[in-house]
Amino acid sequence: MLRLTLGLVTVFAFSVIIFSTFSFLPGDFATEILGQSATKSAVKALRAELGLDKPPVTRYFDWLGNVFQGDFGSSFSGRSKVQGDQGDRSREVVGLIIPRLKNTLFLTGVAAMLAIPLSLILGISAALYRNSYYDRSATGVSLVTVSSPEFFTAYIFILLLATLFPVFPTIATVDEDTTLVERFYRTALPVFTLTLITMGHMMRMTRSAIINILSSEYIEMAKLSGASRYEVIVKHALPNAWAPISQVIAINLAYMLIGSVVVEYVFNYQGIGRLMVGSVYNRDLPVVQACALIFASTYVILNLIADLIGIISNPRLLYPK
């Protein structure tokens, strides 16, 4: 309960930071739209229409109030430059974001399905055969993948699997009509990239969490009571390692979402990351704010889930004395 409140407070604090950061940005959207030659009165009118003339605090609470009702405002772009023009093509931010968010969640979801089990299996087996060649090569390779930036990994994949051996497409453009199989095929490379950049960290943390627990007395006790190596790891070490492992998974899932900004750009994938980059470019404040808030909330929610797993997997917290 306390954690839940704390999570809400964090999201709230984020919203303040996000909002104020964009308010402090130099330049003004009204002049941006209307161009340098715009008359002062036109700029003023547009500012009034957008609500930019109100003090920041009022604007913040207006925005926050609307966000609570699921209304992120209207996008600035697509707005007609001529006041009163009936051909206003600006779109609701929500309508703009949701399909993109779905795409991103699909991408990261598939990557997570791949990365989490793989890294758990690799991490546990590396801990099991600690200091073997298998362990050393697994930890070594994972260090390389963690250290290389996502765009680099992405280009390596393009080079290998799209150019030299053209198995997968380089461009992962999808739309609403794309079938599921087609989607898997087209998003293969971005999924691989996201999997690879997060897997190393998760695998290494799983390995070290298990190894840490392997040195505790109850593990020695388990061995002395005749438990096999597999039993020691899976029955005795793993249940006590869920808390740290779920923490690191949460961080990596969030990182995947953020990492998708770059990856989506590289593969030209219509996700929320690309949308955000584009909107920053256009100074489309409502969209950028909405995206940032979504990213921040994801972090908070994922960490909350990890904390919950930590509590559920620990009888000391679940059943107090």
């Binding site: 505790s216 007395e217 109850y218 020695e220 006790m221 388990a222 061995k223 002395l224 009571s225 005749g226 438990a227 096999s228 029955k235 005795h236 249940p239 006590n240 997997s313 620990n314 009888p315 000391r316 059943y319 004395k321």
Partner: protein
């Protein structure tokens, strides 16, 4: 038991050599020890820490800790040499034919599983009996170990039961597959004396009941005297001597064994006065919402030693924390040398802080491992007395001489000292502030008996020379007898009684003092039997 049966050899360890790897090199831990154990017999293995007794106990299972290896020797169990078996083959013996009871039950149970599942896990591996039969049997074992609510205690998790109960459940776990041999590795060391009695009697009766052979490892002679048929003394990885328990107690042959016996001979004549350096009055204190001290009042006469005794959870260490200001009291006051001390540490003057020092139980964790002895002792000199440079060094050397060490120790790090030397350095650090009152919080409990004696002698000598007052917090009655003038008995956050040593230790006692004193094991092998008879009548 027929004499023929009793002489059937179960375990024969021959010429065991074990090396351990630490500090970048291999050390010899065991240097050719033999051991014979007959069916149904209990062998006591005693020695100080580092004697190799635990290593020997584990080697009896053919197991060595990571970083150790068996260099030479045979471990013949029922005619099979365990040292030659593969891991896979050994696992068929571990937990089922030979089981192990560890020192710290709290750390040795897996926190994630229920106690019942852990109790029967080894016997379940045998696949002889179905799970519900095993569970029923486990409940019976719980009952014969006198565990409360034997029917349901297995459904709990390890953190939900007390240390003494855990230790008994671990014995049940060891007994569940009806092994031929149980290794008890210091099973009661972490327990209070009052709990220890219950656990000892439970373990002894169950081992008798199933006629299981056992190796009982401990550093406490009085405890091993209650448990073992035979005793083997180890030192520096070698055997000192071995004899039947009664023979060894009445007639030890080797000098070293005699010295183990004589440790408890330290005696101090009691003295007291009405000139109190510290009085705490009607103190209440709490950690968060749980209240741990109730109306505690203690007077500490100047230049004397007051021992505070009680089992864990009695509030003795909390009292020390209140006196030092680490835990501000909720109610009551502390008068130090005629002046009232403010409850909070931050509000006390440097002078007040200087005059009260504390020495902790674990010298290992009480010193910064990256600081040399010179820095550890020198800092309080500089901080409290403002002495620097050459003068400071001279002062450090003077303190080292006081604690019977010399200037060759100046550049050493804590890791290069033995346990006793570390505790001496901690004493010097407390002395460096030139205090009037030193609180010794279980300062000898982590040390071996011979080293303990040295530390206690040193503390007495320093008191004579410097006139410093001690508050001596301990659960060990032998230490109390050796060092105190007055004794305060605490139980569940309250003072049971305070008075001169002779008054507290001699009858009549309040009920709790009686229980506490009678639970202290004595060197008499019949002590436990007599005590249990007396208590049940």
């Amino acid at each position: 038991m027929t004499s023929n049966n009793s002489k059937e050899l179960l375990l024969e360890m021959k010429n065991i050599h074990i090396d351990g790897f630490s500090d970048e090199r291999w050390h010899k831990i065991l240097k050719g020890v033999d051991l014979n154990l007959y069916r149904g017999e209990i062998l006591g293995l005693i020695g100080e820490s580092g004697a190799g007794k635990s290593t020997m106990g584990k080697a009896a299972m053919g197991y060595t800790q990571p970083g150790c290896k068996i260099i030479k020797g045979e471990v013949n169990f029922n005619g099979t040499d365990l040292a030659k078996l593969t891991e896979f083959e050994k696992r068929k013996i571990w937990g089922t034919k030979i089981s192990y009871v560890a020192q710290s039950a709290a750390a040795s149970f897996n926190p994630a599983h229920r106690l019942m599942d852990q109790t029967i896990s080894a016997s379940n591996r045998l696949k002889i009996n179905p799970i519900d039969v095993l569970k029923k049997d486990a409940v019976q074992l719980y009952e014969s170990l006198q565990l409360p609510d034997a029917e349901n205690i297995g459904d709990r998790y390890p953190h939900q039961v007390s240390g003494g109960q855990l230790q008994r459940i671990m014995t049940a776990m060891a007994m569940s597959p009806r092994p031929e041999l149980i290794i008890f590795d210091e099973p009661t060391t972490a327990l209070d004396v009052t709990t220890q009695v219950e656990v000892l009697s439970a373990m002894r009766s169950i081992v008798d009941k199933f006629n299981t052979a056992a190796i009982y490892i401990t550093h406490d002679l009085a405890v091993v005297a209650q448990m073992a048929d035979r005793i083997k003394v180890l030192r520096y990885g070698e055997e000192v001597e071995e004899a039947e328990t009664r023979d060894m107690l009445s007639n030890p042959k080797e000098e070293y064994t005699k010295s183990l016996w004589s440790v408890r001979s330290l005696i101090k004549p009691e003295e007291t006065n009405q000139d109190y350096i510290l009085s705490i009055k009607n103190i209440d204190a709490a950690y968060g919402s749980s209240k741990v001290l109730h109306n505690v009042s203690i007077n500490i006469p100047k230049g004397k030693t007051v021992a505070i005794v009680g089992e864990s959870g009695s509030g003795k260490s909390t009292t020390a924390r209140v006196i030092t200001g680490l835990l501000p009291q909720l109610k009551g006051e502390i008068i130090f040398d005629g002046k009232k001390l403010s409850p909070k540490l931050e509000q006390r003057s440097k002078e007040e802080l200087r005059r009260i020092q504390i020495i902790f139980q674990m010298p290992d964790t009480a010193m910064n491992p990256r600081q040399t002895v010179d820095e550890i002792i020198g800092r309080p000199i500089e901080f409290y007395q403002g002495i620097k440079g050459k003068e400071r060094e001279a002062k450090v050397i003077e303190l080292l001489k006081m604690i019977e060490l010399d200037e060759t120790f100046l550049d050493r790090l804590p890791s290069e000292l033995s346990g006793g030397q570390k505790q001496r350095i901690c004493i010097a650090r407390a002395l460096a502030a030139n205090p009037d009152l030193i609180i010794c919080d279980e300062v000898t409990s982590a040390l071996d008996q011979i080293v303990q004696e040295g530390i206690l002698k040193l503390l007495q000598k320093l008191q004579k020379e410097l006139g410093v007052t001690y508050i001596f917090i301990t659960h060990d009655i032998a230490t109390v007898k050796a060092i105190s003038d007055e004794i305060v008995v605490m139980y569940q956050g309250e003072v049971v009684e305070q008075g001169l040593k002779s008054k507290i230790l001699n009858p009549p006692h309040p009920d709790y003092t009686e229980l506490l004193l009678s639970s202290v094991p004595e060197m008499d092998p019949d002590w436990l039997t007599n005590l249990l008879n007396k208590r049940s009548s």
